[in-house]
Protein backbone atom coordinates (compact mmCIF):
# COMPACT_ATOMS: atom_id res chain seq x y z
CA UNK A 1 0.00 0.00 0.00
CA UNK A 2 1.18 3.50 -0.76
CA UNK A 3 0.03 6.59 1.12
CA UNK A 4 0.89 10.07 -0.09
CA UNK A 5 0.77 12.96 2.36
CA UNK A 6 0.65 16.56 1.22
CA UNK A 7 1.97 18.87 3.92
CA UNK A 8 4.79 18.73 6.44
CA UNK A 9 3.14 20.36 9.45
CA UNK A 10 1.79 18.94 12.70
CA UNK A 11 -0.98 17.03 10.92
CA UNK A 12 1.12 15.60 8.10
CA UNK A 13 3.87 14.36 10.38
CA UNK A 14 1.49 12.93 12.98
CA UNK A 15 -0.36 11.07 10.20
CA UNK A 16 2.92 9.66 8.86
CA UNK A 17 4.08 8.54 12.31
CA UNK A 18 0.69 7.00 13.06
CA UNK A 19 0.60 5.06 9.77
CA UNK A 20 4.06 3.75 10.56
CA UNK A 21 2.76 2.59 13.95
CA UNK A 22 -0.03 0.65 12.24
CA UNK A 23 2.15 -0.86 9.52
CA UNK A 24 5.86 -1.21 9.01
CA UNK A 25 5.54 -2.00 5.31
CA UNK A 26 3.24 0.71 4.00
CA UNK A 27 5.04 3.10 1.66
CA UNK A 28 4.77 6.72 2.81
CA UNK A 29 5.74 9.72 0.71
CA UNK A 30 5.44 13.27 2.04
CA UNK A 31 5.23 16.36 -0.16
CA UNK A 32 5.77 19.92 1.01
CA UNK A 33 6.28 23.31 -0.54
CA UNK A 34 8.84 24.20 2.13
CA UNK A 35 12.22 22.49 2.14
CA UNK A 36 12.82 22.41 5.89
CA UNK A 37 11.79 19.65 8.33
CA UNK A 38 8.86 19.75 10.77
CA UNK A 39 8.88 22.64 13.25
CA UNK A 40 6.67 23.73 16.13
CA UNK A 41 4.78 26.89 15.24
CA UNK A 42 3.71 27.23 18.89
CA UNK A 43 7.31 27.72 19.98
CA UNK A 44 8.00 30.60 17.57
CA UNK A 45 6.95 33.43 19.94
CA UNK A 46 9.35 31.97 22.53
CA UNK A 47 12.15 32.27 19.98
CA UNK A 48 11.14 35.84 19.22
CA UNK A 49 11.25 36.63 22.93
CA UNK A 50 14.75 35.15 23.12
CA UNK A 51 13.84 32.40 25.57
CA UNK A 52 14.83 29.51 23.32
CA UNK A 53 17.14 29.26 20.29
CA UNK A 54 15.63 28.96 16.82
CA UNK A 55 16.98 25.46 16.15
CA UNK A 56 15.01 24.17 19.14
CA UNK A 57 11.75 24.73 17.24
CA UNK A 58 12.65 22.04 14.71
CA UNK A 59 11.11 18.75 15.81
CA UNK A 60 12.68 16.45 13.25
CA UNK A 61 15.89 16.13 11.28
CA UNK A 62 16.10 14.55 7.84
CA UNK A 63 17.52 11.50 9.62
CA UNK A 64 14.27 11.07 11.57
CA UNK A 65 12.32 10.79 8.34
CA UNK A 66 14.74 8.13 7.14
CA UNK A 67 14.41 6.20 10.37
CA UNK A 68 10.62 6.18 10.04
CA UNK A 69 11.09 5.08 6.41
CA UNK A 70 9.25 8.12 5.10
CA UNK A 71 10.23 9.29 1.63
CA UNK A 72 10.28 13.05 1.38
CA UNK A 73 9.72 15.32 -1.61
CA UNK A 74 10.30 18.66 0.10
CA UNK A 75 10.62 21.94 -1.71
CA UNK A 76 8.27 20.63 -4.33
CA UNK A 77 4.86 22.07 -5.03
CA UNK A 78 2.08 19.59 -5.80
CA UNK A 79 0.49 20.93 -8.97
CA UNK A 80 -2.45 18.67 -9.44
CA UNK A 81 -4.41 15.80 -7.93
CA UNK A 82 -6.34 13.44 -10.17
CA UNK A 83 -8.79 11.62 -7.96
CA UNK A 84 -10.13 9.29 -10.67
CA UNK A 85 -6.67 8.04 -11.59
CA UNK A 86 -5.52 8.17 -7.93
CA UNK A 87 -2.43 10.14 -8.82
CA UNK A 88 -0.82 13.47 -8.12
CA UNK A 89 1.63 15.58 -10.09
CA UNK A 90 4.64 17.19 -8.44
CA UNK A 91 7.48 18.65 -10.44
CA UNK A 92 7.35 16.74 -13.72
CA UNK A 93 6.63 13.42 -12.10
CA UNK A 94 3.45 11.53 -11.41
CA UNK A 95 2.94 9.68 -8.17
CA UNK A 96 0.18 7.07 -7.81
CA UNK A 97 -1.47 6.40 -4.48
CA UNK A 98 -3.80 4.03 -2.69
CA UNK A 99 -4.68 6.65 -0.08
CA UNK A 100 -4.08 10.38 -0.08
CA UNK A 101 -3.91 12.58 3.02
CA UNK A 102 -4.30 16.32 2.54
CA UNK A 103 -2.65 18.27 5.36
CA UNK A 104 -2.04 21.48 3.48
CA UNK A 105 -2.50 23.76 6.48
CA UNK A 106 -3.20 27.47 6.46
CA UNK A 107 -1.43 30.76 5.96
CA UNK A 108 -1.73 34.12 7.70
CA UNK A 109 -3.71 36.82 5.92
CA UNK A 110 -2.04 40.12 5.00
CA UNK A 111 -4.92 42.30 3.84
CA UNK A 112 -4.56 44.10 0.52
CA UNK A 113 -4.51 47.64 1.89
CA UNK A 114 -2.19 50.59 1.23
CA UNK A 115 1.36 49.93 2.30
CA UNK A 116 0.98 46.30 3.36
CA UNK A 117 3.68 45.34 0.81
CA UNK A 118 6.25 47.76 2.25
CA UNK A 119 9.41 46.49 3.89
CA UNK A 120 8.64 45.98 7.57
CA UNK A 121 5.40 44.00 7.25
CA UNK A 122 5.63 40.53 8.77
CA UNK A 123 3.63 37.49 9.80
CA UNK A 124 4.44 34.82 12.39
CA UNK A 125 4.15 31.40 10.82
CA UNK A 126 7.51 29.85 9.93
CA UNK A 127 11.00 29.94 11.49
CA UNK A 128 12.06 32.09 8.51
CA UNK A 129 9.45 34.70 9.49
CA UNK A 130 11.03 34.91 12.93
CA UNK A 131 14.54 35.21 11.45
CA UNK A 132 13.32 38.03 9.21
CA UNK A 133 11.73 39.88 12.13
CA UNK A 134 14.89 39.56 14.25
CA UNK A 135 17.10 40.69 11.32
CA UNK A 136 14.83 43.72 10.85
CA UNK A 137 15.76 44.86 14.40
CA UNK A 138 12.32 46.15 15.39
CA UNK A 139 12.12 48.99 17.91
CA UNK A 140 8.51 50.15 17.60
CA UNK A 141 6.13 47.38 16.57
CA UNK A 142 2.40 47.25 15.95
CA UNK A 143 0.67 43.88 16.10
CA UNK A 144 -2.60 43.81 14.21
CA UNK A 145 -5.04 41.29 15.66
CA UNK A 146 -5.18 40.31 19.33
CA UNK A 147 -5.83 36.61 19.00
CA UNK A 148 -3.58 34.23 20.89
CA UNK A 149 -0.81 34.59 18.30
CA UNK A 150 -1.06 38.38 18.45
CA UNK A 151 -0.91 38.43 22.25
CA UNK A 152 2.03 36.02 22.40
CA UNK A 153 3.92 37.97 19.74
CA UNK A 154 3.26 41.24 21.58
CA UNK A 155 4.61 39.77 24.83
CA UNK A 156 7.63 38.38 22.99
CA UNK A 157 8.52 41.68 21.30
CA UNK A 158 8.04 43.53 24.57
CA UNK A 159 10.53 41.09 26.08
CA UNK A 160 12.99 42.08 23.33
CA UNK A 161 12.66 45.66 24.52
CA UNK A 162 10.42 46.97 21.74
CA UNK A 163 7.70 49.53 22.19
CA UNK A 164 4.64 47.42 21.40
CA UNK A 165 1.14 48.32 20.27
CA UNK A 166 -1.63 45.74 19.99
CA UNK A 167 -4.65 46.61 17.80
CA UNK A 168 -7.90 44.62 17.85
CA UNK A 169 -10.99 45.25 15.76
CA UNK A 170 -13.44 43.67 18.24
CA UNK A 171 -14.32 45.21 21.61
CA UNK A 172 -11.95 42.90 23.54
CA UNK A 173 -8.72 40.98 23.10
CA UNK A 174 -8.82 37.28 22.18
CA UNK A 175 -12.51 37.69 21.22
CA UNK A 176 -13.01 34.08 20.13
CA UNK A 177 -11.62 32.67 23.38
CA UNK A 178 -12.63 34.98 26.22
CA UNK A 179 -15.66 37.00 27.26
CA UNK A 180 -15.41 40.70 27.97
CA UNK A 181 -14.66 40.46 31.69
CA UNK A 182 -11.69 38.03 31.62
CA UNK A 183 -10.42 39.66 28.41
CA UNK A 184 -10.32 42.99 30.24
CA UNK A 185 -8.38 41.43 33.12
CA UNK A 186 -5.82 40.01 30.67
CA UNK A 187 -5.67 43.35 28.87
CA UNK A 188 -4.81 45.07 32.15
CA UNK A 189 -2.07 42.50 32.71
CA UNK A 190 -0.66 43.23 29.24
CA UNK A 191 -0.80 46.96 29.92
CA UNK A 192 1.14 46.41 33.14
CA UNK A 193 3.78 44.84 30.94
CA UNK A 194 3.77 48.13 29.05
CA UNK A 195 2.04 46.83 25.94
CA UNK A 196 -0.29 49.49 24.55
CA UNK A 197 -3.58 47.78 23.74
CA UNK A 198 -6.30 49.39 21.61
CA UNK A 199 -9.58 47.56 21.02
CA UNK A 200 -12.44 48.48 18.71
CA UNK A 201 -10.07 49.97 16.11
CA UNK A 202 -9.91 49.08 12.44
CA UNK A 203 -6.59 49.31 10.60
CA UNK A 204 -6.97 51.33 7.39
CA UNK A 205 -3.44 51.39 6.00
CA UNK A 206 0.32 51.47 6.42
CA UNK A 207 2.28 54.57 5.43
CA UNK A 208 5.96 55.03 4.53
CA UNK A 209 8.36 55.74 1.67
CA UNK A 210 10.33 52.48 1.31
CA UNK A 211 9.93 51.33 4.87
CA UNK A 212 7.01 51.06 7.24
CA UNK A 213 6.85 54.40 9.07
CA UNK A 214 3.31 54.71 10.39
CA UNK A 215 0.23 52.55 10.85
CA UNK A 216 -3.12 54.19 10.26
CA UNK A 217 -6.31 53.16 12.02
CA UNK A 218 -9.76 54.72 11.87
CA UNK A 219 -8.93 56.55 15.09
CA UNK A 220 -5.22 57.33 15.18
CA UNK A 221 -1.78 57.19 13.57
CA UNK A 222 0.93 55.15 15.22
CA UNK A 223 4.60 55.72 14.48
CA UNK A 224 6.34 52.37 14.00
CA UNK A 225 8.99 50.50 12.02
CA UNK A 226 7.40 47.07 12.15
CA UNK A 227 3.88 45.79 11.49
CA UNK A 228 3.03 42.19 12.35
CA UNK A 229 -0.18 40.78 10.91
CA UNK A 230 -1.91 38.33 13.22
CA UNK A 231 -5.45 38.97 12.05
CA UNK A 232 -6.46 35.50 11.05
CA UNK A 233 -5.48 32.77 8.62
CA UNK A 234 -6.77 31.38 5.36
CA UNK A 235 -7.07 27.63 4.74
CA UNK A 236 -4.88 26.29 1.93
CA UNK A 237 -7.62 24.55 -0.06
CA UNK A 238 -6.76 25.53 -3.65
CA UNK A 239 -5.38 22.09 -4.48
CA UNK A 240 -8.39 20.36 -2.94
CA UNK A 241 -10.79 22.64 -4.79
CA UNK A 242 -9.02 21.98 -8.11
CA UNK A 243 -9.20 18.25 -7.43
CA UNK A 244 -12.96 18.51 -6.98
CA UNK A 245 -13.17 17.95 -3.23
CA UNK A 246 -16.07 19.65 -1.43
CA UNK A 247 -15.14 22.87 0.35
CA UNK A 248 -17.36 23.86 3.28
CA UNK A 249 -18.98 27.18 4.05
CA UNK A 250 -16.22 28.23 6.46
CA UNK A 251 -13.54 27.78 3.80
CA UNK A 252 -12.15 24.44 4.98
CA UNK A 253 -12.20 21.05 3.27
CA UNK A 254 -15.34 19.14 4.23
CA UNK A 255 -14.70 15.86 6.08
CA UNK A 256 -16.83 13.35 7.96
CA UNK A 257 -16.00 12.05 11.45
CA UNK A 258 -13.55 9.57 9.89
CA UNK A 259 -11.68 12.53 8.36
CA UNK A 260 -12.72 11.30 4.92
CA UNK A 261 -13.22 13.88 2.16
CA UNK A 262 -16.12 13.89 -0.28
CA UNK A 263 -14.21 11.62 -2.70
CA UNK A 264 -13.12 8.02 -1.89
CA UNK A 265 -9.52 7.32 -0.90
CA UNK A 266 -8.84 10.90 0.15
CA UNK A 267 -8.51 12.03 3.76
CA UNK A 268 -7.78 15.47 5.18
CA UNK A 269 -6.67 16.77 8.57
CA UNK A 270 -5.20 19.81 10.26
CA UNK A 271 -5.75 23.51 9.69
CA UNK A 272 -7.17 22.97 6.19
CA UNK A 273 -10.35 21.13 7.25
CA UNK A 274 -13.59 22.12 8.89
CA UNK A 275 -15.04 19.60 11.30
CA UNK A 276 -17.91 19.48 13.80
CA UNK A 277 -17.52 21.19 17.17
CA UNK A 278 -17.52 18.79 20.12
CA UNK A 279 -20.30 20.74 21.83
CA UNK A 280 -22.55 22.22 19.15
CA UNK A 281 -21.90 19.64 16.43
CA UNK A 282 -21.85 22.51 13.94
CA UNK A 283 -18.97 22.82 11.46
CA UNK A 284 -16.07 24.75 12.93
CA UNK A 285 -12.45 25.57 12.24
CA UNK A 286 -9.84 24.56 14.76
CA UNK A 287 -6.39 25.95 14.13
CA UNK A 288 -4.76 24.27 17.08
CA UNK A 289 -1.80 21.95 17.31
CA UNK A 290 -3.71 19.38 19.39
CA UNK A 291 -6.70 19.23 17.02
CA UNK A 292 -4.37 18.77 14.05
CA UNK A 293 -2.60 15.86 15.75
CA UNK A 294 -5.80 14.16 16.88
CA UNK A 295 -7.38 14.56 13.41
CA UNK A 296 -4.21 13.14 11.85
CA UNK A 297 -4.42 10.09 14.15
CA UNK A 298 -8.00 9.50 13.03
CA UNK A 299 -7.20 10.01 9.35
CA UNK A 300 -4.19 7.67 9.55
CA UNK A 301 -6.11 4.93 11.37
CA UNK A 302 -9.04 5.01 8.94
CA UNK A 303 -6.78 5.08 5.95
CA UNK A 304 -5.17 1.88 7.23
CA UNK A 305 -8.62 0.30 7.58
CA UNK A 306 -8.83 0.69 11.37
CA UNK A 307 -11.94 2.41 12.62
CA UNK A 308 -11.43 5.62 14.59
CA UNK A 309 -13.77 8.58 15.05
CA UNK A 310 -12.96 12.22 15.67
CA UNK A 311 -14.75 13.56 18.76
CA UNK A 312 -14.93 17.07 17.38
CA UNK A 313 -13.10 20.33 17.87
CA UNK A 314 -12.65 21.76 21.32
CA UNK A 315 -10.33 24.69 21.65
CA UNK A 316 -7.90 24.80 24.54
CA UNK A 317 -5.61 27.79 24.67
CA UNK A 318 -3.21 28.67 27.44
CA UNK A 319 -1.20 31.87 27.71
CA UNK A 320 1.27 32.84 30.36
CA UNK A 321 1.43 36.58 30.90
CA UNK A 322 3.92 37.84 33.48
CA UNK A 323 4.03 34.30 34.86
CA UNK A 324 0.27 34.18 35.39
CA UNK A 325 -1.47 31.36 33.51
CA UNK A 326 -4.64 32.18 31.55
CA UNK A 327 -6.76 29.36 30.18
CA UNK A 328 -9.71 29.28 27.80
CA UNK A 329 -11.41 25.95 27.10
CA UNK A 330 -14.38 25.33 24.81
CA UNK A 331 -16.78 28.07 23.76
CA UNK A 332 -17.27 31.58 25.10
CA UNK A 333 -20.55 33.54 25.14
CA UNK A 334 -19.93 34.61 21.55
CA UNK A 335 -19.65 30.98 20.46
CA UNK A 336 -22.72 30.09 22.52
CA UNK A 337 -24.88 32.86 21.05
CA UNK A 338 -28.44 31.57 20.80
CA UNK A 339 -28.07 29.14 23.72
CA UNK A 340 -29.48 29.86 27.16
CA UNK A 341 -26.25 29.94 29.14
CA UNK A 342 -25.71 29.68 32.88
CA UNK A 343 -22.60 31.54 34.06
CA UNK A 344 -20.82 30.48 37.26
CA UNK A 345 -18.37 33.23 38.05
CA UNK A 346 -15.84 34.03 40.73
CA UNK A 347 -13.44 36.88 41.21
CA UNK A 348 -10.89 37.40 43.93
CA UNK A 349 -7.55 39.16 44.15
CA UNK A 350 -5.47 36.51 42.41
CA UNK A 351 -8.07 34.32 40.69
CA UNK A 352 -10.81 34.87 38.17
CA UNK A 353 -12.83 32.14 36.53
CA UNK A 354 -16.10 31.63 34.76
CA UNK A 355 -17.77 28.38 33.83
CA UNK A 356 -20.40 28.41 31.08
CA UNK A 357 -23.06 25.73 31.17
CA UNK A 358 -25.93 25.05 28.78
CA UNK A 359 -28.64 22.50 29.57
CA UNK A 360 -26.68 21.06 32.50
CA UNK A 361 -23.55 20.58 30.39
CA UNK A 362 -20.28 22.45 30.73
CA UNK A 363 -19.66 24.20 27.42
CA UNK A 364 -16.85 26.59 28.21
CA UNK A 365 -14.39 27.62 30.87
CA UNK A 366 -12.16 30.66 31.24
CA UNK A 367 -9.70 31.16 34.04
CA UNK A 368 -7.00 33.68 34.91
CA UNK A 369 -4.53 32.88 37.68
CA UNK A 370 -4.52 29.11 38.09
CA UNK A 371 -4.26 25.84 36.20
CA UNK A 372 -5.54 23.70 39.06
CA UNK A 373 -8.41 21.46 38.08
CA UNK A 374 -8.54 22.65 34.48
CA UNK A 375 -7.73 19.11 33.35
CA UNK A 376 -10.89 17.64 34.83
CA UNK A 377 -13.01 20.53 33.54
CA UNK A 378 -11.62 19.92 30.05
CA UNK A 379 -12.46 16.22 30.35
CA UNK A 380 -16.01 17.12 31.40
CA UNK A 381 -16.43 19.35 28.34
CA UNK A 382 -15.07 16.63 26.05
CA UNK A 383 -17.21 13.88 27.58
CA UNK A 384 -20.31 16.00 28.04
CA UNK A 385 -20.64 15.06 31.72
CA UNK A 386 -23.86 16.58 33.11
CA UNK A 387 -23.13 19.24 35.74
CA UNK A 388 -25.69 17.73 38.12
CA UNK A 389 -24.01 14.33 37.85
CA UNK A 390 -20.59 15.84 38.55
CA UNK A 391 -22.01 17.57 41.63
CA UNK A 392 -23.51 14.29 42.83
CA UNK A 393 -20.19 12.46 42.35
CA UNK A 394 -18.38 15.12 44.32
CA UNK A 395 -20.65 14.46 47.31
CA UNK A 396 -20.20 10.69 47.20
CA UNK A 397 -17.33 9.22 49.20
CA UNK A 398 -17.32 5.95 47.28
CA UNK A 399 -16.95 7.55 43.87
CA UNK A 400 -14.58 10.27 44.96
CA UNK A 401 -12.12 7.84 46.58
CA UNK A 402 -11.49 6.30 43.16
CA UNK A 403 -11.67 9.61 41.27
CA UNK A 404 -9.92 12.04 43.58
CA UNK A 405 -8.74 14.25 40.73
CA UNK A 406 -12.38 15.26 40.23
CA UNK A 407 -12.08 17.24 43.47
CA UNK A 408 -9.78 19.75 41.77
CA UNK A 409 -12.69 20.97 39.69
CA UNK A 410 -15.15 21.21 42.58
CA UNK A 411 -14.58 24.89 43.27
CA UNK A 412 -15.50 25.71 39.68
CA UNK A 413 -18.52 23.43 39.63
CA UNK A 414 -19.99 24.73 42.87
CA UNK A 415 -18.78 28.26 42.21
CA UNK A 416 -16.87 28.62 45.44
CA UNK A 417 -13.32 29.62 46.11
Amino acid sequence: MRVLIIGNGAAGNQAAACIRKHSSECEIVMFARESFPEYSACALPDVLAGWIPLDKTFLKTSLDYEQLQIKTCFGQEVNNVDINKQCLEAGDKKYYYDRLIMATGSQPIIPKIDGSQLNGNFVVKTPQDIERIIDHKPTRAVIVGAGNIGVETASALRNRGCIVYLIEMQDRIMPLLYDKKPADIIQTMLEQEDIRVFTGERVTGVAGEQQVERLLTDQQEIECDTVIWAAGVRQNVELARKAGLKIGGLGGIEVNKYMQCSEPGVFACGDCVQSPHVYTGKPSLSLLWSSAKRQADVAAANCMGKLDEYEGNCSVVIEEIMGIPCVAIGLNLHGLAGYETEVIEHESEDLYYRLLAVDDRVAGFQCVGSLEGTGSIFTMIKKGTPLSEARKLLHNKGSISTMAWYMDSSRYIFGEY
Binding site: A43, G375, F378, I400
Partner: protein
Protein backbone atom coordinates in the same frame (compact mmCIF):
# COMPACT_ATOMS: atom_id res chain seq x y z
CA UNK B 1 2.16 -3.91 32.33
CA UNK B 2 2.93 -3.00 35.93
CA UNK B 3 1.59 0.28 37.25
CA UNK B 4 1.24 2.06 40.61
CA UNK B 5 -2.10 1.04 42.11
CA UNK B 6 -3.52 2.93 45.07
CA UNK B 7 -5.32 1.43 48.05
CA UNK B 8 -7.12 4.54 49.27
CA UNK B 9 -8.26 2.94 52.53
CA UNK B 10 -4.64 2.34 53.60
CA UNK B 11 -3.27 5.84 52.87
CA UNK B 12 -2.95 8.00 55.97
CA UNK B 13 -1.53 10.98 54.09
CA UNK B 14 1.93 10.86 55.71
CA UNK B 15 3.50 12.29 52.55
CA UNK B 16 6.65 10.17 52.61
CA UNK B 17 6.06 9.20 48.96
CA UNK B 18 6.17 12.87 47.98
CA UNK B 19 9.38 13.55 49.86
CA UNK B 20 11.07 10.43 48.48
CA UNK B 21 9.97 11.37 44.96
CA UNK B 22 11.28 14.92 45.32
CA UNK B 23 14.61 13.57 46.57
CA UNK B 24 15.08 10.99 43.84
CA UNK B 25 13.67 12.99 40.95
CA UNK B 26 14.52 16.61 41.73
CA UNK B 27 17.24 16.41 44.38
CA UNK B 28 14.97 18.36 46.74
CA UNK B 29 13.16 17.56 49.99
CA UNK B 30 9.77 19.17 49.52
CA UNK B 31 6.39 17.89 48.29
CA UNK B 32 6.17 20.70 45.71
CA UNK B 33 8.85 18.96 43.65
CA UNK B 34 7.19 15.53 43.75
CA UNK B 35 5.55 13.89 40.77
CA UNK B 36 3.10 12.07 43.02
CA UNK B 37 0.54 14.23 44.82
CA UNK B 38 -1.70 13.43 47.76
CA UNK B 39 -5.18 14.89 47.49
CA UNK B 40 -6.49 15.50 50.97
CA UNK B 41 -10.26 15.32 51.00
CA UNK B 42 -11.00 16.45 54.51
CA UNK B 43 -14.79 16.34 54.25
CA UNK B 44 -14.59 12.61 53.50
CA UNK B 45 -11.59 11.87 55.72
CA UNK B 46 -9.72 10.57 52.70
CA UNK B 47 -6.16 10.86 51.43
CA UNK B 48 -5.75 9.86 47.82
CA UNK B 49 -2.35 9.67 46.13
CA UNK B 50 -2.61 10.80 42.49
CA UNK B 51 0.09 9.88 40.01
CA UNK B 52 0.50 9.45 36.25
CA UNK B 53 -1.71 6.58 35.02
CA UNK B 54 0.39 5.96 31.89
CA UNK B 55 -2.75 6.01 29.70
CA UNK B 56 -2.87 3.80 26.62
CA UNK B 57 -3.75 6.86 24.51
CA UNK B 58 -2.30 9.71 26.54
CA UNK B 59 -4.01 13.07 25.88
CA UNK B 60 -0.81 14.84 26.98
CA UNK B 61 0.99 13.26 24.02
CA UNK B 62 -1.55 14.80 21.63
CA UNK B 63 -1.34 18.22 23.31
CA UNK B 64 2.44 18.51 23.45
CA UNK B 65 3.44 21.21 20.95
CA UNK B 66 7.04 19.98 20.94
CA UNK B 67 6.08 16.31 20.32
CA UNK B 68 8.34 15.25 23.17
CA UNK B 69 5.93 12.91 25.02
CA UNK B 70 6.02 9.32 23.81
CA UNK B 71 4.98 5.80 24.78
CA UNK B 72 7.99 3.59 25.44
CA UNK B 73 7.71 0.78 22.89
CA UNK B 74 8.79 -1.91 25.39
CA UNK B 75 7.23 -0.92 28.71
CA UNK B 76 4.37 1.33 27.43
CA UNK B 77 5.36 3.95 30.02
CA UNK B 78 4.50 7.53 29.09
CA UNK B 79 7.88 9.28 28.95
CA UNK B 80 9.24 12.70 27.98
CA UNK B 81 12.31 14.08 26.26
CA UNK B 82 12.14 16.78 28.89
CA UNK B 83 15.24 18.66 27.68
CA UNK B 84 13.17 19.87 24.72
CA UNK B 85 10.26 21.12 26.89
CA UNK B 86 9.51 24.85 26.50
CA UNK B 87 7.20 24.95 29.51
CA UNK B 88 4.00 25.86 27.67
CA UNK B 89 1.98 23.75 30.13
CA UNK B 90 -0.53 22.51 27.55
CA UNK B 91 -0.11 18.93 28.82
CA UNK B 92 -1.16 20.05 32.30
CA UNK B 93 -4.60 20.99 30.98
CA UNK B 94 -4.83 17.88 28.82
CA UNK B 95 -4.32 15.54 31.78
CA UNK B 96 -7.64 14.66 33.45
CA UNK B 97 -5.80 13.46 36.56
CA UNK B 98 -3.65 16.56 37.18
CA UNK B 99 -0.71 14.16 37.02
CA UNK B 100 1.46 16.30 34.73
CA UNK B 101 3.43 18.31 37.26
CA UNK B 102 5.04 21.73 36.87
CA UNK B 103 8.68 21.66 37.88
CA UNK B 104 9.38 25.19 39.17
CA UNK B 105 13.16 24.63 39.26
CA UNK B 106 13.64 23.94 35.57
CA UNK B 107 10.39 25.55 34.34
CA UNK B 108 9.27 22.40 32.56
CA UNK B 109 6.43 19.91 33.04
CA UNK B 110 7.26 16.39 34.20
CA UNK B 111 5.37 13.19 34.98
CA UNK B 112 6.02 9.98 36.89
CA UNK B 113 8.38 7.69 34.96
CA UNK B 114 7.94 4.82 37.48
CA UNK B 115 11.69 5.26 38.24
CA UNK B 116 12.37 3.05 35.23
CA UNK B 117 10.57 0.07 36.79
CA UNK B 118 11.32 0.29 40.53
CA UNK B 119 9.21 3.17 41.86
CA UNK B 120 10.83 4.52 45.03
CA UNK B 121 7.56 5.92 46.41
CA UNK B 122 6.17 2.37 46.47
CA UNK B 123 9.36 1.05 48.10
CA UNK B 124 9.12 3.63 50.88
CA UNK B 125 5.34 3.65 51.45
CA UNK B 126 4.98 2.63 55.14
CA UNK B 127 1.28 1.67 55.02
CA UNK B 128 1.17 -0.32 51.80
CA UNK B 129 -1.21 2.18 50.21
CA UNK B 130 0.96 2.24 47.07
CA UNK B 131 1.32 -1.06 45.27
CA UNK B 132 3.32 -1.71 42.11
CA UNK B 133 1.42 -4.42 40.30
CA UNK B 134 0.11 -5.64 36.99
CA UNK B 135 -2.97 -3.65 36.05
CA UNK B 136 -4.93 -6.68 34.90
CA UNK B 137 -4.22 -8.28 38.28
CA UNK B 138 -5.29 -5.06 39.97
CA UNK B 139 -8.60 -5.13 38.10
CA UNK B 140 -9.09 -8.79 39.09
CA UNK B 141 -8.37 -7.93 42.71
CA UNK B 142 -10.90 -5.12 42.66
CA UNK B 143 -13.50 -7.39 41.10
CA UNK B 144 -12.85 -10.13 43.67
CA UNK B 145 -13.13 -7.63 46.50
CA UNK B 146 -16.38 -6.23 45.13
CA UNK B 147 -17.77 -9.74 44.68
CA UNK B 148 -16.66 -10.74 48.18
CA UNK B 149 -18.36 -7.68 49.61
CA UNK B 150 -21.61 -8.53 47.86
CA UNK B 151 -21.51 -12.12 49.04
CA UNK B 152 -20.90 -10.85 52.56
CA UNK B 153 -23.85 -8.48 52.30
CA UNK B 154 -26.05 -11.20 50.86
CA UNK B 155 -25.13 -13.67 53.60
CA UNK B 156 -25.83 -11.04 56.25
CA UNK B 157 -29.28 -10.53 54.83
CA UNK B 158 -29.76 -14.28 54.87
CA UNK B 159 -28.79 -14.75 58.52
CA UNK B 160 -31.03 -11.90 59.60
Amino acid sequence: MKRIVVNTEACDGCGICQLVCSAYKAGQWHPAFARIKIKQLQEFGLNVPVVCMHCTYPPCEIFCVMNLIYKDPDTAYTLRNVERCIGCRACEIACPFSAAVWDPLNEVVVNCDLCGGTPECVNHCPTGALIFMDISEAADKKRREAAGLRILEASRGFSE
